[in-house]
């Protein structure tokens, strides 16, 4: 399974429970970066409960390590975006190799898919 072959519309249609069973991380945000859905895969990997993340600004309050020009600036610099690349998380300064897919369209806001390598 490659992140870049996943259908975003299908992921958006999943229930919270289905989202929590996925083998990759899903973070759904509005276009201003406020988190709407945060699934279990990423919650476990980051050690953050979904309750503590939902409703907060992802780049400014939750994952400051992604507030750079490879992730946050790409999201905010484009109206539509769909790109997948290798990246290194430095969450709490521990480097973790991940694959990231950044997705953004005009209607449904932004979605960050990720899988730890």
């Amino acid at each position: 399974m490659n992140l870049d072959s996943l259908e975003i519309a299908e992921i958006r249609a999943l229930s919270v429970e289905e989202l929590n069973n996925l083998p990759y991380g899903v973070i759904e945000m509005s276009t201003d970066g406020i988190v709407h859905r945060y699934n279990k895969y990423e919650s476990d990997a980051a050690g953050l409960s979904s309750e503590s993340v939902i409703g907060r600004n992802f780049f400014k309050e939750v994952a400051l390590c992604l507030n750079d020009h490879m992730v946050a600036e790409r999201f905010f610099g484009a109206e539509v975006l769909d790109t997948t690349f290798e990246y290194v998380f430095s969450f709490r300064l521990r480097p973790n190799n991940v694959t990231l897919r950044l997705f953004k369209d005009k209607s449904g806001g932004m979605m960050l898919l990720l899988r730890h390598v």
């Binding site: 750079d68 990246y87 290194v88 430095s90 300064l93």
Partner: protein, 289 residues
Amino acid sequence: MSEVSSEELIEFLYIAPVALLKCDRSGEIKLCNPKCVSTFLALLNLSALPNFIELLTASDKSLVALIHQAKMPGEICRDYRVWIDAVEQSFVFSFDIHLTGKGELLVAFRDVTQAVNYEQELDRLAKFDDLTNLYNRKYFIDIAERETERALRYQHPISLLIADLDHFKQINDNFGHLAGDTVLKRLGAIINTSVRTVDTAARFGGEEFCLLLPETDIENARCVAEKIRRNTETAAIEYDGEIIQTTLSVGVAQLVPGESLEKLMNRADQALYSAKELGRNRVQLSKSE
């Protein structure tokens, strides 16, 4: 006073404008901040963090040796500049590296490429005349002071040439100032190809040039001056479809014991004046006093 939590410290490191990493002696990166990630991934175009020691080994083996030799905890280097080749361009990074008590490396580094480029450009502007690519007056005098002092101390010969284009004003008047610039540029090239690497050549201002020839007595200096004069006379300088011809007068003087640079330059200048008086397009030697 309450303890600072690790969360609070991490917040600082998240926004630090300097790349920070901790690795073991084999170079495996254990900790790093976002600036470190973006430096490696966005700037150097890597898809994952490199092995730190391997990265340095490819660029600067002496820094790697310095790291391997370090035994005591503490500073290994500060503002150590390393040239790193990326896919399409090179970067200069400045490294501060510390050895911890546990034998790990704490590294802070910054991309200083732009600053280094500015420094080099500033250095060039401070030393060179833009038009001719010869040294400028100030830098020539700095070198000449040092070289004449050395020549006097070790009793080695050293000679000075002052050259001046003949009737340069007419070139400007007849062909325009851009033509004059073209002639000056060409003379700069003639001088540059006529001197040895140990010689120092400068544009002194206007159409006047100065050359300092270490380990050279007045007879050999005359040969150099003749060569430059002849190459100037025979150069057909093309400007805007026209051929401009020009000649050069040169005064030559050899430093005598106890003489100052200023006096030496005065004598070369007087010899130049005589060359002009005697009809130009010639080399005139100064008799030492």
